[in-house]
Amino acid sequence: SQLAEENLWALSVHEGESVTVNCSYKTSITALQWYRQKSGEGPAQLILIRSNEREKRNGRLRATLDTSSQSSSLSITATRCEDTAVYFCATSSSGSWQLIFGSGTQLTVMP
């Protein structure tokens, strides 16, 4: 079973709008990473947020982490067509080398 999962399979927005992708997880974690995968490419990391952090920013991206509700969100402001991709959350746990990936949310940004 999935230990990390994004809450929606797919989202679509128009260029310039803001959008939020949510992720929930089931175990105690030490860090959570957000990855983006564009068509024909491998995933690429966007943000790493550790369990003692509540928020992290990277340009137009903002990730939050709520360890009490075991959830995270990734917000993208002023979306562009090139933000069209699948967005994954991935969790790390203490003592484990493994990164557990969620199933991903397909984001489509329309002109």
């Binding site: 999935q2 030490t30 860090a31 491998g42 995933p43 550790r50 080398w97 493994q98």
Partner: protein, 114 residues
């Protein structure tokens, strides 16, 4: 610095054939991962190497899947014999540092088994 390289980008095989996928990690990275990606199952870990030593051999996959790391800059994934259900994208990733470090992914090999 070059990223992770995977070859071939596309592979078509007949059922029962043996195929070998190749990966060159980022230079200097100690950890190397092989994943299988499908729409239904998402990203599934096949193998994990740390400093060329096999740390995880994929559990349910070990039967027909064998990953090797011949040196620190080259890894192969052999599938023998292939079955139609093996059709998927195979991704290689490398990492340097602790367990929180970013995994750098290659572009993947899309395998179709007829």
């Amino acid at each position: 610095d070059a990223g992770v390289t995977q070859t071939p980008r596309h592979e078509v095989a007949e059922k029962g054939q043996t195929i070998i996928l190749k990966c060159e990690p980022v230079s200097g990275h100690n950890d190397l991962f092989w994943y299988r990606q499908t729409k239904i199952q998402g990203l599934e870990l096949l193998s994990y190497f740390r400093s060329k030593s096999l740390m995880e051999d994929g559990g349910a996959f070990k039967d027909r899947f064998k990953a090797e790391m011949l040196n620190s800059s080259f890894s192969t994934l052999k599938i023998q014999p292939t079955e139609p259900k093996d059709s998927a994208v195979y991704l290689c990733a490398s990492r340097q540092g602790d367990n929180y470090a970013e995994q750098f992914f290659g572009p993947g090999t899309r395998l179709t088994v007829l």
